[in-house]
C-alpha cells in the first residue's frame, strides 16, 4: 500500500458565509482536489438511465397483493378470477415458491407461505400487459386469512414464552460462527460482548447511572423506488436489471435461492436513484424472476411510494438500556448495555446490525469493564435492513444522551467528560482491539465542533418556562464512530483496460448510487497511471458478466477498498507499460519514469514513448512487435479481521474506524414545540480528503438526513400493527425549508496507514449522532431530558407540559 508522509491538517469549510482557504498539499496532481461528478452532465440533462426508465421488448408489468394484516394464517388463496382477466399472463402465490432467501439469516419467503408476518407483506403477484391490468387482477385475488394476534412490542417479543413470529427459526440456515440464533424465541441473533470484570467495575464506581432509550423504525426514502426487470431465459438462465447497490450479492443470493449457476445469471445496474442501505442485499429480483419464468416474458416490478414504506424494509427500531459506573473524577469504570432491536418480521440483514452496532455500543470511549447483550428481535412489523449508519445512529443516540446525563450528575463539563474517556493511542475497544494514534482522533473532532459552535464550559440546564418571546436556545455536542460492517473476507477488484488512444476504461462493481465513488476512482486511477484525468473513464453500468467481483456497495467501504484495488490495478498496468518500454528503449525497468501519459528514461527524458505506442503493443520500425494490449488488474481483501467470539464478543471486527463529532445550537419554540437548527458543526476524521467537493456535499446531505431522524421521521403503527403513515403526506422528510441556519464542516486528516493516500470512509458518518447532539442541546435549552426521538413538535410540546 502506498504511504505518503503527510502530517495531519485541518480543513474547515463553513458552507455559508466566507470560505476559509484550505491548506492544500501539492504533492498530488489529482488527489485532494475538487472535481465535479463525472455523472453530472448525464444527470442534469435527464439522459442518465435508471431501471425506472427501462423497457424491454415484450415486457410485462407486475403488481403485488399485500397482506392487510400484521399477522395471520393464510387459509386459502383463490386466483381463478385473476387468471381469467384478459391481459394477465402470470399469477403466483407463495404456495408454489418453496424457496428461502436472505443475506446472513436465510429467513425470508419470496411470497408469504402459510403465514403473513407483517402488514404489507406480499402474498401474491401478477404479471400483465400493463400495470393497470395487473393491479385489477390483484384485486380479484381472494385470500382467506385467519387473523392471529400480532407480536408488536419489542420487549414483549423478547420475553421467554412470547408468541413466535418464526416458529421454524431453528431450521433456518445462517452464517455459522458469526450469528447465534436462539431457538424457540423471537431472537435470531444474540450478540454478547464481555470485557474485564464487571463486579470490580461496579465496585470502583462512585456513581452508577441508568437510562433507557427508544427510537422508532424509519424509512430510507431513496427518491427512486425499488424496481427490477427480470428476463428468465431457456436453460435456467436469467438477466436482471435492478435498482440495487450490490450486483454480485444480488446474483449470489439469487443463484443460491434458485440453485442456478452463477455464469448463467447476469445482473446489470445502471444509474440508481439513491440507496442509503435500502438497496443492499436482495429484494424484488427473485419474485420478478418467478413471474418471468411463468409468463415466458420479461417482467418489470416497480414499488409504489406506499410500498416503499410498508413492503420494502426499513431501519429497525431500538430500545436500549444503558448503565454506567463512574468515578468522581469522571473515569468510566463499568458499562452495561442491553439492546433490543425491533427487527420486524424478517432479519436476514438485521442480525448483522445487532452484531455490528454492538461493537460500537459503548461509544468512542475507553471502557475497562463491559457487558453488552444485543438482541435482534422479531416482531410483526415491516422488517428492518441496512440504513446509513447501520445501527450506530440508533445506539449512539442513547450513548451520547447518557454521557451528558452522567456529566450533569457529576457536575463535569460534557466535553471534558468525553475527552477524559475518549479512545486514544493505547486504548482497547470493548472487543479488545487496540487503538493507535493513526486509528483516528475523536478528541480532536469533539474539540473542533465545540469551538465551532462557541461551546461554553459547564453549561447549565435551561428552563423552558423562562423562554423569551416563546423561544429558548441551547447547545449540544455528540461524538460518533463507525467501522465498515462486513464479513471478514470481504473483497473488491478492479480492471483497467486501455484503448488505442491510451485512454482507459476502469471496470468495477461497486455501484455509484450518489456517493461520488466513480469520480473519486477517476482521480485515483489518473494519479497512479500518470495519465491526464480526462483519459480515465469509469464504466457506468455495472454488469456481473463483464465487471470484476465486488462484495457489496455498503458500509462506507469503497474509498478504502475500491481506492486500494484501483491503485493495485494501476500499478499492474504501469508495470506492463514499463516492461515493454524497457525493451523498446533498451534500459532497465527501474530507470523508467511515467508522467502525463508518457514513459521516459529518468536521466534522459528525450528517450520518451507515449502510452499510445505501448498500450496495444509496441511496434519497431521494421514491423516487429512486442507486448500487447495492457490490462491492469487490482484487488483488495480485508486483512486480519476475525469473527467475534460468540461467548465474549472479543475479536477484530474493524477494517478501519472513522471518528467524528457534531455540535449543534438549537432554538425551541415552547409554544409550538418546533425545533429550529441555528447552526450545526460536523467534524470527521477523513484520513485524507480525496475530493473536497464530494466530501462536503455528501456530508451536508448526511447531516440533513440525520436531522430528519432527529426531529421529523418515525413510523406510526396502530394497535393492530398497521403502518399509519406510509407516504409523504404523513411521513415528512426534510425539505429545503428545514435546513439549519448554518453548517460548518471540519475534515481532519489523521492518515489511515492502509487507506488510499491515508483516506477512510465517511459516507454514513455525517448522520450518526446528529440526534444525540440535538437531544443534548434540547436539554440545555429547556431543562428537559429526551429519551426518545424524533423530537417532533408534537412530542416536544407534550414533553414540556408533562
Amino acid at each position: 500500500m502506498p504511504m505518503h508522509g503527510l502530517s495531519s491538517n485541518n480543513r474547515s469549510h463553513p458552507c455559508r458565509g466566507k470560505k476559509i482557504k484550505l491548506t492544500m498539499k501539492e504533492e498530488y496532481k489529482y488527489i485532494g482536489k475538487s472535481y465535479p461528478r463525472i455523472d453530472g452532465p448525464a444527470k442534469v440533462t435527464g439522459s442518465a438511465e435508471y431501471v425506472h426508465d427501462l423497457k424491454l421488448p415484450g415486457m410485462l408489468y407486475a403488481r403485488i397483493l399485500k397482506s392487510p394484516h400484521a399477522s395471520s394464517k393464510i387459509k386459502s388463496i383463490n386466483i381463478d378470477m385473476a387468471k381469467k382477466l384478459p391481459g394477465v399472463k402470470a399469477v403466483v402465490t407463495g404456495k408454489e415458491l418453496n424457496y428461502k432467501v436472505g443475506l446472513y439469516m436465510i429467513d425470508k419467503d419470496i411470497l408469504a407461505r402459510d403465514y403473513v408476518r407483517y402488514q404489507g407483506e406480499p402474498v401474491a403477484a401478477v404479471a400483465a400487459i400493463d400495470e393497470l391490468t395487473a393491479e385489477k387482477a390483484c384485486k380479484l385475488i381472494d385470500v382467506d386469512y385467519e387473523i392471529i394476534e400480532p407480536v408488536l412490542d419489542v420487549m414483549e417479543a423478547a420475553k421467554k414464552g412470547s408468541k413466535l413470529v418464526h416458529p421454524e427459526l431453528k431450521k433456518y440456515s445462517f452464517m455459522k460462527g458469526v450469528f447465534d440464533p436462539q431457538p424457540n424465541t423471537n431472537i435470531p441473533h444474540w450478540q454478547k460482548i464481555r470485557k474485564g470484570d464487571m463486579k470490580k467495575g461496579w465496585e470502583e464506581a462512585d456513581l452508577i447511572v441508568e437510562n433507557d432509550f427508544w427510537n422508532p423504525p424509519v424509512q430510507h426514502v431513496a427518491m427512486e423506488t425499488h424496481t427490477a426487470i427480470v428476463r428468465a431465459l431457456p436453460q435456467n438462465k436469467a438477466e436482471i436489471w435492478t435498482s440495487a447497490q450490490s450486483p454480485f450479492t444480488v446474483r449470489n443470493l439469487f443463484c443460491v435461492c434458485f440453485g442456478l449457476r452463477h455464469q448463467d445469471v447476469r445482473v446489470r445496474i445502471p444509474s440508481v436513484g439513491g440507496g442509503f442501505g435500502g438497496k443492499a442485499g436482495i429484494h424484488l429480483e427473485p419474485l420478478v424472476y418467478c413471474l418471468s419464468k411463468k409468463s415466458g416474458r420479461p417482467v418489470k416490478l416497480t414499488m409504489t411510494r406506499e410500498e416503499e414504506f410498508n413492503t420494502i424494509p426499513s431501519r429497525q427500531g431500538l430500545r436500549s438500556f444503558l448503565k454506567t459506573g463512574v468515578k468522581k473524577d469522571g473515569t468510566i469504570t463499568a458499562y452495561e448495555a442491553k439492546l433490543y432491536w425491533d427487527a420486524g418480521a424478517y432479519a436476514d440483514y438485521g442480525v448483522n446490525i445487532g452484531r455490528a452496532a454492538a461493537t460500537a455500543s459503548a461509544g468512542p470511549y475507553e471502557v475497562p469493564n463491559c457487558h453488552v447483550d444485543s438482541f435482534v428481535v422479531y416482531t410483526n412489523k415491516v422488517f428492518g435492513t441496512a440504513y446509513r449508519g447501520f445501527g450506530h445512529l440508533e445506539v449512539l443516540w442513547g450513548v451520547e444522551r447518557h454521557m451528558d446525563i452522567i456529566a450533569a450528575k457529576l457536575k463535569i463539563d460534557p466535553l471534558e467528560f468525553r475527552l477524559k474517556n475518549a479512545l486514544r493511542d493505547g486504548s482497547k475497544t470493548i472487543t479488545g482491539e487496540r487503538i493507535y494514534s493513526h486509528t483516528g482522533r475523536v478528541d480532536k473532532c469533539l474539540k473542533s465542533v465545540a469551538k465551532e459552535i462557541g461551546w461554553e464550559k459547564n453549561p447549565k440546564p435551561g428552563n423552558w418556562k423562562k423562554a423569551v418571546n416563546g423561544k429558548i436556545r441551547g447547545k449540544g455536542i455528540a461524538a460518533l464512530q463507525k467501522a465498515p460492517a462486513m464479513p471478514t473476507f470481504t473483497s473488491c477488484s478492479v480492471v483497467i483496460k486501455f484503448n488505442e488512444d491510451a485512454s482507459c476504461d476502469l471496470l468495477v462493481s461497486g455501484v455509484d448510487y450518489g456517493q461520488g465513488t466513480y469520480t473519486m476512482l477517476t482521480q485515483v486511477a489518473a494519479e497512479e497511471l500518470k495519465l491526464p484525468i480526462e483519459k480515465v473513464n469509469v464504466v457506468w453500468d455495472c454488469d456481473t458478466s463483464t465487471n470484476p467481483y465486488d462484495w457489496q456497495t455498503v458500509a462506507s467501504r469503497f474509498a478504502v477498498m475500491g481506492g486500494n484495488a484501483t491503485i493495485d490495478a494501476a500499478h499492474d498496468a504501469l508495470r506492463q507499460i514499463k516492461e515493454v518500454a524497457a525493451q523498446a528503449l533498451r534500459c532497465p525497468v527501474g530507470d523508467l519514469v511515467c508522467e502525463d501519459g508518457k514513459v521516459f528514461i529518468k536521466h534522459n527524458p528525450d528517450e520518451t514513448i507515449p502510452y499510445e505506442k505501448i498500450v496495444m503493443g509496441y511496434v519497431y520500425p521494421n514491423g516487429n512487435s512486442i507486448g500487447g494490449p495492457v490490462i491492469g488488474r487490482g484487488r483488495f481483501i480485508a486483512q486480519g479481521l476475525t469473527n467475534l467470539d460468540l461467548k465474549t464478543g472479543q475479536g477484530l471486527p474493524a477494517l478501519d474506524w472513522t471518528f467524528g463529532a457534531h455540535g449543534v445550537e438549537i432554538e425551541v419554540d415552547v409554544d409550538t414545540g418546533e425545533i429550529k437548527i441555528i447552526k450545526i458543526a460536523t467534524s470527521l476524521d477523513a484520513g485524507k480528503v480525496l475530493n473536497e467537493q464530494q466530501c462536503v456535499t455528501q456530508t451536508i446531505g448526511g447531516v440533513v438526513q440525520g436531522l430528519g431522524s432527529a426531529v421529523l421521521e418515525e413510523f406510526k403503527f396502530d394497535k393492530k400493527g398497521r403502518l399509519q403513515n406510509a407516504g409523504f403526506v404523513d411521513y415528512k422528510i426534510p425539505t429545503a425549508k428545514d435546513l439549519p441556519g448554518k453548517f460548518a464542516l471540519i475534515f481532519l486528516e489523521t492518515e489511515l496507514p492502509h487507506g488510499p493516500y491515508g483516506a477512510r470512509g465517511i459516507a454514513e458518518h455525517p448522520m450518526i449522532s446528529v440526534p444525540g447532539a440535538v437531544g443534548n442541546a434540547f436539554y440545555y435549552a429547556t431543562g428537559i431530558e429526551a429519551f426518545e426521538f424524533p423530537l417532533t413538535p408534537e412530542r416536544v410540546f407534550f414533553m414540556l407540559r408533562q
Binding site: G40, G46, E49, R305, I700, T735, A736
Partner: protein, 157 residues
C-alpha cells in the same frame, strides 16, 4: 372487455408537437414518459408530494403526476430534455454540475425545472424565493444546500 374511450390531444412538448389519442385517466407524467418517450422526468410518488415529476406548463412549474394529459391539450410543456441549449448545458445545468448539486440524480430534472420556473418568473430571486420554489421538490442525497447554491449562482450572473 370494454374498449376505453380515447381523446385526441395536441401538446407541444419542448420544440415538438405531439398529437395522440389518450385515455382520460392518463396523467401528464405518463404522457411525457410513455407517449413522448421523454424519460428524464421521473416519478417519485405519483401523488404530487415529491416534485420529481416537475415540468413547466406554459412556463409555470407543476407536478406532472397531478394533471391529466387531456388537460394539457393545447398547452406548452417544457421538460428537462428541452433545457439543454444545443450541444451546451444550460446555465442551470452547468451550475448544478459545478456546485455539486447532483448526487443520485433522480430528483435533479424536477429540481432544475422548478428552478427554471422560478427564474422565468423572476431572474434575480432572493434566497428565500429560491427555497420556496424548490420546497416541493424532495431530495434525500444533497441536503439541498448545494442546490440552493447552484440556483443562486445562476441568479447572480
Amino acid at each position: 372487455m370494454k374498449t376505453e374511450k380515447l381523446f385526441k390531444i395536441k401538446v407541444k412538448v419542448n420544440s415538438e408537437f405531439y398529437e395522440r389519442a389518450v385515455p382520460a385517466r392518463m396523467t401528464l407524467l405518463q404522457f411525457v414518459r410513455d407517449e413522448c418517450n421523454l424519460t428524464g422526468t421521473k416519478e417519485g410518488c405519483g401523488i404530487g408530494e415529491c416534485g420529481t415529476c416537475t415540468v413547466l406548463l406554459d412556463g409555470k412549474a407543476i407536478n406532472a403526476c397531478m394533471m391529466f394529459a387531456v388537460e394539457a391539450d393545447g398547452h406548452k410543456i417544457e421538460t428537462i430534455e428541452g433545457e439543454q441549449r444545443g450541444e451546451k448545458l444550460s446555465d442551470l445545468q452547468q451550475a448544478f454540475v459545478d456546485n455539486g448539486a447532483v448526487q443520485c440524480g433522480f430528483c435533479t430534472p424536477g429540481m432544475i425545472m422548478s428552478a427554471r420556473g422560478l427564474l422565468k418568473k423572476k431572474s434575480k430571486p432572493t434566497d428565500k424565493e429560491i427555497i420556496e420554489a424548490i420546497s416541493g421538490n424532495l431530495c434525500r442525497c444533497t441536503g439541498y444546500l448545494p442546490i440552493i447554491e447552484a440556483i443562486r449562482a445562476v441568479a447572480r450572473k
